[in-house]
């Protein structure tokens, strides 16, 4: 080995050690533990697929997995919403920076605070019910987080509320990279705003749309923190997501192998769906 190779590895060593311990080891060792009966109190033995059999026969996990798939419904809303927001703020109108900041504020707010604030909003005598009853959209106050069909959608809404600004910034950067002369040329040819958006902006943004959609799909499948701060899985376990089950089993009940088996199932879904998305969004590449 020559001198610069040694030097390079010395520079890299501390970072690589931490990555190995806290990023690669959890995946490797975790995958192994999912096939064992690991616990802190007795020696570990191999149990084959027992943990997977257990979770697939467990209502909480199955509901959780279904709910995680329901979460995917919000992906188109998030992406179309974020792209629309980016178009709305991609100009030099007075005060536009203030609006950009306002749309981004939910992103920089810690999830525990988000949970508390939306707990207030969704309260039976909260503002949301006040607005809806005043507008006569509902007759009586709705128990948003205590209704076992509504609670999941409320959590999805809050997840979306937290995520929109992040994707908006991604799209805004992509919009600003579209050369202005393309729009000018199209304007000279008599294309209106709508035509320019569909014929120029959208095709130019395709790579960003693909990346953001995949990230959004993965985020939806992996959602669980909002569940923890809003409902903790209730009412009647109706808002469990697959990873919330992993979190709940692993940390609250100390059933680590079960939790790891559940998270492996989520990972398989993530990889599969991400690959499908990429193929669907880039039909040219095979």
């Amino acid at each position: 080995m020559n001198r610069s190779t040694v030097q390079a590895w010395l520079f890299l060593a501390p970072a690589l050690v931490l990555l190995a311990v806290f990023s690669f080891w959890p995946v490797g060792y975790g995958s192994y533990l999912a096939f064992t009966d690991y616990s802190l109190v007795r020696p570990t033995s191999f149990v084959g697929l027992d943990n997977f059999r257990y979770i697939f026969n467990n209502d909480m996990f199955v509901t959780g997995l279904e709910n995680s798939l329901v979460f995917l419904l919000m992906v188109p809303f998030v992406q179309i919403g974020a792209l629309s927001l980016a178009v709305l703020v991609n100009n030099q109108l007075p005060g536009i920076r203030l609006f950009r900041a306002a749309f981004y504020v939910p992103v920089v707010t810690t999830v525990s605070v988000v949970g508390i604030m939306w707990g207030f909003m969704f309260h039976e005598q909260g503002t949301l019910n006040y607005v809806l009853t005043t507008l006569r959209l509902v007759n009586a106050p709705v128990g948003w987080l205590s209704d076992d069909t509504l609670a999941l959608f409320c959590i999805m809404f809050v997840t979306m509320w937290r995520g929109l600004g992040w994707y908006m910034v991604m799209y805004l950067a992509a919009l600003q990279a579209v050369p202005a002369d393309m729009h000018e040329a199209a304007m000279l040819d008599g294309a209106n705003r709508w035509q320019r958006f569909w014929k120029i902006t959208v095709p130019m943004l395709k790579p960003t749309i693909a990346v953001c959609s995949v990230l959004s799909v993965l985020a939806a499948l992996k959602a669980y923190q909002e569940v923890d701060v809003l409902t903790q899985g209730g009412p009647m376990n109706s808002t469990f997501t697959a990873l919330y089950y992993a979190y709940d089993q692993g940390l609250k009940h100390l059933k680590l192998p079960r939790a790891l088996a559940a998270s492996m199932v989520v990972s398989v879904f993530c990889i599969g769906i991400a690959m499908l998305c990429l193929r669907w969004l880039q039909p040219g590449k095979k």
């Binding site: 501390p14 920089v108 605070v113 207030f120 005598q125 006040y130």
Partner: protein, 271 residues
């Protein structure tokens, strides 16, 4: 005329969305400042009634706010410091040195971005326990210090430094370490600032992992402590609202003053 109408509609849409984004914060501030009236009254109040800071005083009294605050500050500061040191050290050879295994290392770092890292805490808790780092700042900080995004951003920054500067220093006999610390780091300072600010907010907001590592309430950062407040003193909504305001205020202030770094940091991460 048509133009004016469309501008008005544009602003109307912007205001409506901004209202949805900001209203929960506003409601919380109003509740924290008010001292009179039913909190969940119909119609709700959108302006503080007989405002005072008494709820904040109460929040300071019932939770060890200063301890939480200190913990949040220390966790954020240590995370930023070590992330900047270790990630820039890792990014420099990837950007500027030719060495065996470069592609492999780069591939490994990229791989961490697709690994299912959300559940790493399950095994990391075992690791941290075995290393006797439970209830320590090190336990909270270490898993978050090295991230692929930070390395990629800094690698890009290092790649933009002109090669002439490095060559000149080598001719003068400077070691790689001197080149790195005296030439490279000062030149990428704006990018270090970007990574630092993004990291500070992320570390401040981290909620799940510190709640796992820290078992005693006086060790909690604010993000965890504010929920502890809800759990323990569930009756007093106004005090919880006051605690919530105190928790978000530092991040919101940091964000508003450094907005451009957030917009730019994202931009770099996508490229």
């Amino acid at each position: 005329m048509n133009n004016r109408v469309s501008t008005a509609l544009h602003y109307l849409a912007l205001c409506a969305i901004a209202l949805v984004c900001v209203f929960p914060f506003w409601w919380t501030v109003v509740t924290a400042l008010s001292t009179e009236g039913n909190i969940f009254a119909f119609p709700p109040t959108f302006w503080p009634k007989s405002p005072s800071l008494v709820n904040f005083e109460e929040a300071f009294r019932v939770i060890p706010f200063f301890a939480f605050f200190k913990n949040s500050v220390l966790i954020a500061a240590f995370t930023v410091f070590w992330k900047l040191v270790l990630c820039s050290m890792a990014a420099y050879p990837l950007a500027r040195l030719r060495f065996k295994g470069r592609q492999l290392v780069f591939g490994l770092i990229l791989a961490t971005m697709v690994l299912p890292s959300e559940v790493n805490f399950l095994v990391n808790f075992i690791t941290v326990t075995k290393l006797s780092l439970v209830d320590t700042y090190a336990g909270v900080i270490l898993p978050n210090v090295v991230t692929a995004v930070a390395i990629l951003l800094l690698k890009q920054a290092f790649e933009e430094v002109p090669q002439d500067l490095i060559d000149a220093a080598r001719v003068d006999g400077a070691s790689e370490w001197i080149i790195f610390t005296r030439i490279m780091l000062p030149l990428v300072a704006p990018w270090l600032a970007t990574v630092g600010i993004l990291t500070a907010v992320e570390a401040w907001n981290e909620y799940i992992w510190p709640s796992i590592v820290m078992s005693r309430p006086d060790e909690f950062p604010l993000s965890v402590g504010v929920l502890y407040l809800r759990g323990t003193f569930g009756s007093s909504t106004r005090v919880i609202a006051a605690g919530t305001v105190l928790t978000v205020l530092p991040t919101l202030a940091a964000f508003l003053f450094t907005q451009r770094y957030f917009m730019r940091g994202m931009d770099g991460a996508v490229k």
